[in-house]
Symmetry: C2
Subunit: 526 residues, 2 copies
Amino acid sequence: MESSALWKRYKKHLTKCQGLGITLDISRMNFEDSFFRSMQPEIEKAFTAMDALESGDIANPDENRMVGHYWLRNADVAPTPEIQSEIKDTLEDVMGFVSKVHKKEIVPPTAPKYTDVLSIGIGGSALGPQLISDALGTHRDKLKLHFIDNTDVDGIHRVIKSLGVRLKSTLVLVISKSGGTPEPRNGMLETMAAFERAGLSFAKQAVAITGKDSHLDKIAVSESWIKRFPMWDWVGGRTSVMATVGLVPCALQGIDMRALLDGAAKMDEITRIKDAKKNPAAKLALMWYSATGGKGEKDMVVLPYKDRLLLLSRYLQQLVMESLGKKFDVEGNVVNQGIAVYGNKGSTDQHAFVQQLREGVNNFFATFIVVLQDTARPGRDPEVDVESNVTAGDFLNGFWQGTRTALYEEGRESMTITCDKMDAKTLGAIIALYERAVGYYGTLTNINAYHQPGVEAGKKAAATVLELQNAIVDYLQANAGNTFNIDELAAGMGKEDDVETIFHIIEHLASNKRLVKKARSQYSAL
Amino acid sequence: MESSALWKRYKKHLTKCQGLGITLDISRMNFEDSFFRSMQPEIEKAFTAMDALESGDIANPDENRMVGHYWLRNADVAPTPEIQSEIKDTLEDVMGFVSKVHKKEIVPPTAPKYTDVLSIGIGGSALGPQLISDALGTHRDKLKLHFIDNTDVDGIHRVIKSLGVRLKSTLVLVISKSGGTPEPRNGMLETMAAFERAGLSFAKQAVAITGKDSHLDKIAVSESWIKRFPMWDWVGGRTSVMATVGLVPCALQGIDMRALLDGAAKMDEITRIKDAKKNPAAKLALMWYSATGGKGEKDMVVLPYKDRLLLLSRYLQQLVMESLGKKFDVEGNVVNQGIAVYGNKGSTDQHAFVQQLREGVNNFFATFIVVLQDTARPGRDPEVDVESNVTAGDFLNGFWQGTRTALYEEGRESMTITCDKMDAKTLGAIIALYERAVGYYGTLTNINAYHQPGVEAGKKAAATVLELQNAIVDYLQANAGNTFNIDELAAGMGKEDDVETIFHIIEHLASNKRLVKKARSQYSAL
């Protein structure tokens, strides 16, 4: 397309988000002129489904749950007075608690004030808080955030050791809806042990963020933790960043959570507009559909030209892939849906994988995210001319434009989301934009975007492995003095079908000197 | 496949890397029994090409360069005595310099010792050092590493501000082969300005890692920087982690670089074996070929079950995608090759995108990386039982097995690389394994894996944008007093074809209050 035609296309299809300083440009996507018209019935269905969801329908029928993350930033649209006041009261409660910590009205037992926050959670209880913390954090944060987001004991210890003597001034958040998810449970137990080794009282520095009456809730009550905040069953993990899960850690850090919520609320209004051409979330969803054939045929490469947005692609990986990556549609047909998401940041990635984007396999569409203000206070923050009249930020902007052009020349599709600046309001709006787009796309592809049935399979298989581990240890102890090779051991246990699993378990136990301790004679023969 | 048949397949195809404690399991990949035989001619060609490369052929003909990263860990195999002694002497020089810093024989002008290292580089000059630093760092590191890897002035300032008063005890590494790459150049200039604002002498705390007689080399000489280390033209950026680029920062951090080199050297020996069934790199390349049809049809999902390997997928993104993502084969035919790479870590990703891997679009193959030792000192590091006789590490291992099984049940392919432990030697070996696999795969798909012609296009397009920016500023200054809309401005400049680019440039300048300063009257009318 000629540049003058492209410029017309840019202006024709640009969506401006009034009051947010955000635009969405789809001019470099390959849709035909007739595309929006042809998709009109589908997108209307999506608008209707979204209305039903927002008014409290059971939008996640498999789990018999409402889906209420949009209520979190505007409680007045929640379907019942009870939910409305729960949201408002909880927000007040969070702000009140955080304010007391900041004012040193809540202090740890053996230090004059809290200096650090250790947040223990996984998936939705980690990715959102990590994104916000990194995107909006500064060297002047009120408290410094740290995360334990796995069941890797070495990783857990590394985080705790990095705190050093500041463990005594660290507020610990344990975030788990059920309290039964092993990763945060294990992270909590290892952290409790570290507190004990340091002669500190865990309970007196611990806060639970969990479902009412969950296992974790009961522990927090019985041990008199300093505070508990609720998690609601109508908020899914991957959309919980504006619930207590995200609010508590980030407010403690000193981030303006009201602005985050306001930005999301404003974007929610804009993405309720029932005209796909004026609704950036509908437009995003339609572009995903256009690019992937509605079947995940292309990957979504997310390239923010901003260091602060490095974790956005990882956040969107969960939001998009866990929501859309489904085997069955809502009628039970096998569809194997989804869109793969990856990316880090520009221009850094231009020196990594953009070579392939431009020249290699054409299996993706790119989404650039551009931030116009180079610093938080343009004209006041120091910035040098790296060449005559040219700043480092001019290069960043130039690299975005250059890469966009280079991809277009090779027939690679891209979109661009441009933000005036990167602050709490803008980030809240971007998150809300993608949440809504995922919801619309779920309807376009006729899948339930609010459950995650595939996650259970891996957990169940893992539970089987751990049961087998206990059976192995029991068997070896019961047969102390005998030696076995792997096949004999499996046969002896009557578990011939599990021989490979037994092998991997024994390899792991032996590497950690656990079998040596428990059954040396047998181990030595394996 | 029945579990007994799978166990046989596991044992039959398992490759053990003697002396490294690393195995490669390909039993869950879908290749046919005849696959290895059918690929025999191709893999022999790859062995021959690798021999030629290692003996000093011009393996990167487009840039008329030798490709010598394998020589870095065993200088004796380098093709000339000059290169051999250059490698050895440089290694001694690095170790000597680092030792003096650690022993406080080299100290900053206004502090008793160096406490931090600020490494400024992008692409291959950042991703390798970042991976090693994060994978092998501890709370006892001798110096703390920080990275500037972009031309984002806000990101640059955030890193510098996080150093605070420790700027005076920070050793700065500027890493750039030519010295002309804008990102590190801009990072250096912003850092120099920060030193000046703090009343510190940049040159007295700065080290250059650059090509001999490059622009950066000349600056370092003329300003009497404290040290210079060479970058060689026979080492490409994405394989430079065992050259000065990686050695200097990581040795300063206190990481055992000799062990890293030794692990790589040992893996190099193993991956020279001219039998695909015994050569894990040849096997990896063949599995990539099998999974992707030799055409990038599937994405490579890298899932290390280890916090320390979080950055491995990002490192491999560059190594694999920049090497293999090529438009032309070596004969000049359009092939659009490549393999997309993404992933973070297990079990964390099980709570993010593994839902899609198991149930969604089957457009990937997974590579699990498992580390058997849960802590650095099994049996000595503290570890609690999170359930009876079960540790957090048992869960991590169980989750890997569970996810592998869950994927297999749904017909999703996976490989597993198992390491006894994660240390410098093992990490060096893993890096060398993938370097070699990429080289073999390049021959299998008949492309030049050692250049990156697509990177230039984006740079050139960006340079055009910056030229245009200067022309706009000049034009507005020359026409002070007149006002224009965007189309009039483009027409007035005789740049009608660039109207959209002009628009984006003006948006950016205005957002940063630069046009206001320079041409308020015109800007206000735009």
